[in-house]
Amino acid sequence: MGSEQLFADEKKAFEEKKAELLKLCEGKFAAFKGAELIGIYDTAEAAYEAALAKFGNTPFFIKQVLREEPVEWIPAFHHGLIHASL
């Protein structure tokens, strides 16, 4: 599955709820499975444990509630020393 398709439902659900989540719990971590919001957690680890307990070892979406999406910077990747193959 390509990267754009993976978590498509979860991303859509997050965007739909983003304004509300920013008001209620900015900085915390939201866990989604499909369009379902599993819960809001203080840490990514807590979100992982809760989603894992409910859905087992399957892909689920953990997202920190932030106004702007961070862009990660890895020079070795940027300059081609490592690469992605999604």
């Binding site: 892909p59 953990i62 961070p70 990660e72 910077w73 890895i74 070795a76």
Partner: protein, 151 residues
């Protein structure tokens, strides 16, 4: 505060030359996150063996990354995606949960979220970024050819 001092050795080359050539390397083991390992134990499922290799401390990286080949081979599933800057713009990368151990060092085990990427270098299986370094003091002594990590 645990302190890890490293002096690259093993050849007749000065440690400073080795450090300049190879960078800050740490022994690393990739394990299942504790929560997933506990789930497997409860289900009487076998826990995959750890992946063993070297991690390169990369002070330029905002986040740690692990070779995705090993993450998927351990049965780990993605738990999100992150935007990464590339020469051609931003690119989505999968994020995985993983537990990182640093055997032979006092560095405590880390339950971490890492970017899954594919590395060209076979020995190096992980890049340790500033999400790790924000928890420690790192000293690079190029003249002596040593480095120190304090937690």
């Amino acid at each position: 505060m645990p302190v890890y001092n490293v002096y690259p050795t093993g050849t007749n080359v000065h440690p400073g030359v080795l450090l300049q050539k190879y960078g800050l390397l740490l022994p690393i083991e990739l394990h299942l996150p504790t929560a997933l390992a506990n789930l497997y134990v409860g289900q009487n499922q076998p826990i995959p063996p750890p992946t063993i290799g070297s991690a390169l401390v990369d002070t330029g990286a905002t986040i740690s990354a692990v070779d995705e080949t090993y993450l998927t081979a351990m049965g780990l599933q993605p738990i999100g995606q992150g935007q990464v800057s590339t020469p051609a713009g931003q690119q989505l990368q999968n994020i995985y949960p993983v537990q990182m151990l640093f055997p032979g060092t006092p560095i405590p085990p880390l339950q971490s979220r890492v970017l899954g990427m594919h590395f060209h270098h076979g020995k190096i299986i992980a890049l340790i970024g500033r999400d790790f370094l924000c928890n420690c003091v790192l000293t690079y002594n190029g003249l002596m050819g040593s480095y120190t990590i304090c937690f």
